[in-house]
């Protein structure tokens, strides 16, 4: 591993000695972060702090999409130091959410941060006196403007969040989204629960709609930290499950978009198409959302020849009906009228906010961990990335449609070309021990985008800290920006077109 003074370079899924990550003075950290993050091909995948013996250790993971490397750098703050740091947010806006999280957890004040308020009102937040019901919303004083508050409980079957619109008549001037209602203390529980299986279950319940994406990030991290090798076949099976999750949810999202523009045929047909995919997941692992599929070191649900044959048939059937329905849908004037130009954002805004996943790819920002930092089977079988250029609801719809097609093609290729040996399967490992004093990072590309899990182990190989980052951490801000200068009645289609996670964000 090449090393420079300021940072160390690793690959997705690597582990390093925790002492191997350079600790530099904050002033140097500040200027190095500015320098690195100014480049378009790099973005911050995680920036967080955790308590160690002498104070706080801040770690930043920067993903370099061009070199396919992850850059790790860090700084420290002792217990007795003033709890103040110069904020990076003014210059790299995408860091706003990470600095806010560190402020919430440890009371570190980021000087000149424009928006320093709690992220989720975690149970173990530093300022216990800050209350969820007193959230300091941005306000504008004007006779002409009014505010609309929605939530936390919404008008449907959705998770809770509070949306505060500042409106000028029907038009939205500004939207602020307050989250935290779903906070369950996942990161603390990952440390409190001691068996691998308990932690594995927690990982698949971080966001139930991304059970595969999150549990895969977890499993890869644990396999690195325990020195467990899994076969290429198992990696490919996991990647197939990940792509099936993507196909299912994207299809469900398109169905939901049809609901919101009152196109009932589309809503129903895409809905039943999704059923076929998730019922296949159930026939594979016993759970429609793929819970219990991913285990550390092996699986209890290996792919069989019968499942493979069935999958090929199901995908063929799915594709035929999906293509037919999609053709009818996107040529429908009433659908075009609602999707086109709705919630349009620019590439500049997307880069500013630091969006990842489909929220980035719909506006020409090529961020896809499967391509830039390949994991599981995506090294041997590369997957194509689709990019859109318009940044509106239509782009998000067309992107999801294309990604479904690409995922189907990828699965088909793997099933045809990889010599699966169905007589051979690996059992999950029971409580393997973790290597002491290590840091490891694992990235996967869930259907919402980049999922990042980081862990630090202690002297005895116990988990010292576990960090989860759902792609929604990056992406909620782009939904807020999408609503600007838009009719408030267009909020639902915009919300559905992103379909961001509340529980993944709130943890």
């Amino acid at each position: 591993m090449p090393e420079t003074y300021h940072y160390i370079k690793v690959r997705n899924g690597d582990s390093v000695a925790i002492q191997g990550i350079p600790v530099i003075p904050y002033r140097e950290f500040f200027s190095e972060a500015l320098f690195l993050l100014k480049a378009g091909e790099r973005h911050c995948a995680a920036y967080y702090a955790y308590p160690d013996e002498k104070g706080l250790h801040f770690i930043m993971v920067i993903a370099d999409d061009a070199s396919h490397e992850l850059l790790l750098m860090s700084h420290k703050m002792s217990h007795d130091a003033p709890k103040e740091l110069e904020s990076l947010t003014l210059q790299i806006f995408a860091l706003h959410i990470f600095e806010r999280e560190i402020y919430e957890n440890f009371g570190i004040v980021f000087l000149n941060h424009p928006w320093l308020k709690p992220v989720r009102y975690a149970f173990n937040r530093y300022h216990q006196e800050q209350k969820l019901q007193d959230y300091p919303f941005y306000t504008i004083k004007s006779e002409e403007l009014h505010e609309v508050g929605v939530g936390p409980v919404h008008a449907g079957i959705i998770e809770p969040g509070h949306f505060r619109f500042i409106c000028n008549g029907e038009m939205v001037l500004h939207l602020e989204i307050q989250l935290g209602w779903q906070h369950r203390g996942v990161e603390q529980l990952l440390l409190d629960k001691k068996t691998m299986l308990q932690r594995n279950l927690l990982a698949e319940n971080i966001a139930g709609d991304t059970a595969i994406g999150h549990s895969l990030a977890f499993a890869q991290l644990m396999e690195t930290l325990t020195g467990t090798e899994v076969s290429e076949q198992l990696q490919l099976e996991r990647a197939i499950a990940l792509e099936l999750e993507r196909i299912a949810i994207h299809t469900g999202d398109i169905s939901a978009l049809c609901v919101d523009v009152a196109y009932h045929l589309g809503a129903n047909v895409f809905g039943i198409l999704r059923t076929g995919i998730i019922n296949f997941m159930q026939s594979w692992c016993g759970n429609r959302l793929g819970k219990s599929m991913i285990r550390v070191g092996g699986t209890n649900a290996p792919l069989t020849a019968a499942l493979r044959d069935n999958l090929i048939k199901i995908l063929e059937d799915f594709e035929k009906h999906f293509v037919e329905m999609v053709h009818v849908t996107y040529r429908l004037p009433s659908v075009q009228n609602r999707f086109d130009f709705a919630g349009k954002i620019t590439e500049h805004q997307a880069r500013l906010v630091g969006t990842v996943g489909p929220s980035a790819r719909m506006i020409n920002v090529p961020r896809d961990i499967r391509v830039s930092h390949p994991f599981a089977g995506f090294q041997r079988f590369p997957i194509e990335m689709d990019l859109r250029e318009k940044g509106d609801v239509f782009s998000r719809f067309l992107l999801k449609r294309k990604e479904i097609a690409l995922s189907i093609a990828w699965i088909r290729k793997v099933l045809e070309e990889f010599p699966f040996d169905f007589s051979n399967s690996e059992k999950p490992s029971e409580n393997p021990s973790l290597k002491a004093n290590r840091f490891s990072v694992s990235l996967t590309e869930g259907w919402r985008g980049e999922i990042c899990h980081c862990a630090v182990t202690d002297d005895h190989g116990g988990l010292k800290h576990y960090k989860v980052k759902d792609p929604s951490m990056h992406n909620w801000k782009i939904l807020e920006l999408s609503l600007r200068d838009l009719e408030i009645s267009d909020f639902p289609i915009n919300n559905k077109s992103y379909n961001l996670s509340y529980c993944g964000h709130d943890l």
Partner: protein, 248 residues
């Protein structure tokens, strides 16, 4: 128009004709059965990541079970999961499956309040509150209304306001941050009303039960009308449970 008619023809009949008789094929994990074969009970109980298994006699609490199947994987001769998806009940104790039990989880018709059947027997409008739910039970509640399961055929639907609702379906372990909003929603629903817990997180807190970010005290103040196990609950478990409660 012509193309849309073609789509309808190509997709054919999609709804499940009789939801009460529908079968979910294996390896779906429904109601477990514990055989009377001799085994080391303590070891079996230790396998469960959620502490849903207790000993003397060996017993699985479906209100705490995430249906991960790990116990059956480790001790296949002792525990297996059947594909019986009818798991909902109005009596918490009915969720305890003991060694040697192999009978359906039932609803005790005598314990249902008189107004439930009289008022909701032909129409039931529900409000869904997610309080730390991971969006899997929410997903399946949404699927109950799709073209396959079509719960709407029974007049059972989810509505957009507590003022229009006859009850709450709660998902999630009930976070501290949602405790107040849940109470407000409940108070906004006119009497008579019912309260349903959907999924392992809602019934017992699930894997989050020990978290300090959870506050389940509200559940001590109200009467729970229906427990629907699962992680997430299968749409057939949900629909059959509600049907059995309101018109069984």
């Amino acid at each position: 128009m012509f193309e849309e008619v073609k789509v309808i023809a190509h997709n054919g009949k999609q709804y499940i004709t009789d939801l009460r008789k529908a079968v979910v094929p294996a390896p779906f994990r429904g109601r477990p059965v514990i055989t009377t074969a001799s085994a080391d009970e303590a070891r079996i109980a230790a396998v469960c990541p959620l502490g849903a298994i207790t000993t003397a006699p060996l017993c699985i609490d479906l209100g705490k079970c995430a249906f991960c199947g790990e116990c059956a994987n480790a001790f296949p001769e002792k525990i297996h999961f059947t594909n019986d998806h009818k798991l909902a009940t109005n009596v918490r104790e009915h969720l305890l499956v003991k060694e040697g039990d192999d009978r359906a989880v039932t609803i005790d018709q005598h314990q249902i309040r008189a107004e439930v059947k009289a008022t909701f027997g032909r129409s039931l409008k529900l409000r869904q509150v997610s309080a730390g739910g991971d969006n899997s039970c929410e997903w399946e509640l949404g699927a109950c209304g799709n073209a396959n399961f079509d719960m709407g055929r029974y007049g059972i639907e989810f509505v957009a306001s507590p003022r229009h609702a006859d009850g709450i379906v709660l998902t999630g372990p009930l976070t501290v941050n949602m405790a107040h909003a849940l109470k407000t929603t409940w108070n906004a629903i006119p009497e008579p009303k019912i309260f349903i817990l959907c999924g392992v997180d809602a019934i017992s807190g699930g894997i989050f039960a020990d978290s300090k970010a959870i506050n389940r005290s509200f559940l001590n103040e109200i009467h729970v009308d229906l427990y629907i196990p699962g992680n997430p609950s299968h749409p057939l478990t949900i629909i059959n449970g509600i049907l059995e409660l309101t018109r069984g």
